[in-house]
């Protein structure tokens, strides 16, 4: 009876490890999600190792499933780790390039802002001169036609 209970516990652990390992393997191959395979992968490795350790001395234990779970989870976690490394490398490269882009962009923006300021100043000066011209004209009219 005790052996039967232990067998059921091992079966549960192995099944959970196998399913999580399968999820890790499938997710790890998809580049969009590959990095996230590490989470189910590590959990499945722990479950599979626990099940493997409990298999000792238990007759008719589901060793096949435990070994399959272990292989699949190790494979999924390895590919997930590889993807994580690739993303880390490309991120650092992007940051380097992104920094250069930001530098160029900042210079361009500064030039644009300077240009805008210059145009704004010119418009203000034009407006001021127009107002001055108007005032001058009104004053002239006033001097020519005093009431």
């Amino acid at each position: 009876m005790e052996q039967e209970n232990k067998r059921k516990a091992i079966s549960g652990l192995a099944a959970a490890g196998f399913i999580l390992g399968l999820i890790a393997l499938l997710v790890s191959i998809v580049p969009c999600l590959g990095m996230y395979a590490l989470i189910p992968g590590i959990i499945s490795i722990i479950l599979a190792i626990t099940a493997f350790a409990k298999c000792r001395g238990i007759a008719k234990a589901p060793r096949g499933l435990v070994i399959a779970a272990l292989i699949i989870s190790v494979l999924g976690t390895s590919i997930g780790t590889w993807q994580f490394i690739i993303i880390r490398q490309s991120t650092s490269r992007f940051e380097q390039v992104g920094f250069d882009i930001r530098e160029i962009f900042r210079i361009d923006t500064t030039n644009q802002i300077d240009e805008l300021k210059r145009i704004e100043k010119e418009e203000e000066e034009e407006e001021e001169s127009e107002v001055e011209e108007l005032i001058r004209k009104i004053e002239e009219k006033d001097t020519l036609n005093p009431e």
């Binding site: 549960g12 099944a15 196998f18 580049p31 969009c32 999600l33 490309s90 991120t91």
Partner: protein, 141 residues
């Protein structure tokens, strides 16, 4: 004595094979439900590509969620346009769903010996996986 009188299907339910079958079927149904919930073309899928998020570049599986949403709605052309890998990957999950159902009932009804089901299922799944995921596997190799 009472234990021996139980039908074969009753004991078959407690083998690790059946929970694995049910769980995989549930995961596949979850994927299909996720694809059906979000409308394609509206860019509403919550799962974002890590390459776009962190590296600023697209990857070979970008557009797969939208492709799956198109497939669930029966739009094959739209699915192919979203991502060329959509149809083989969706076919893999659909075939797996049928295989899970068949394996479950075959084991439950004791139609085929358990060892034969396990061997056939694992080898067929491996072949299907290599066939449907070949573009992604060879992309990494």
């Amino acid at each position: 004595m009472k234990k021996n009188m139980q039908p074969e299907s009753y004991s078959a339910m407690f083998t690790p094979y059946q929970p694995v079958n049910i769980s995989i079927a549930a995961i596949i149904l979850g994927i299909f439900l996720y694809s059906a919930l979000f409308t394609p073309g509206e860019n509403t899928h919550p799962v974002r590509c890590v390459y776009i998020e962190y590296a600023g570049t697209s990857c070979p599986t970008c557009g797969l969620s939208e492709g799956f949403s198109q497939m669930v709605r029966g739009n094959l052309d739209g699915a192919r346009e979203s991502n060329v890998n959509t149809i083989p990957l969706f076919s893999f999950f659909l075939l797996q769903l049928f295989m899970r159902a068949f394996a479950f009932f075959a084991l439950y009804r004791n139609m085929i010996p358990k060892k034969l089901i396990a061997a056939g299922d694992s080898s067929l799944s491996l072949v299907l996986f290599l066939l449907c995921f070949r573009n992604l596997i060879f992309f990494w190799i």
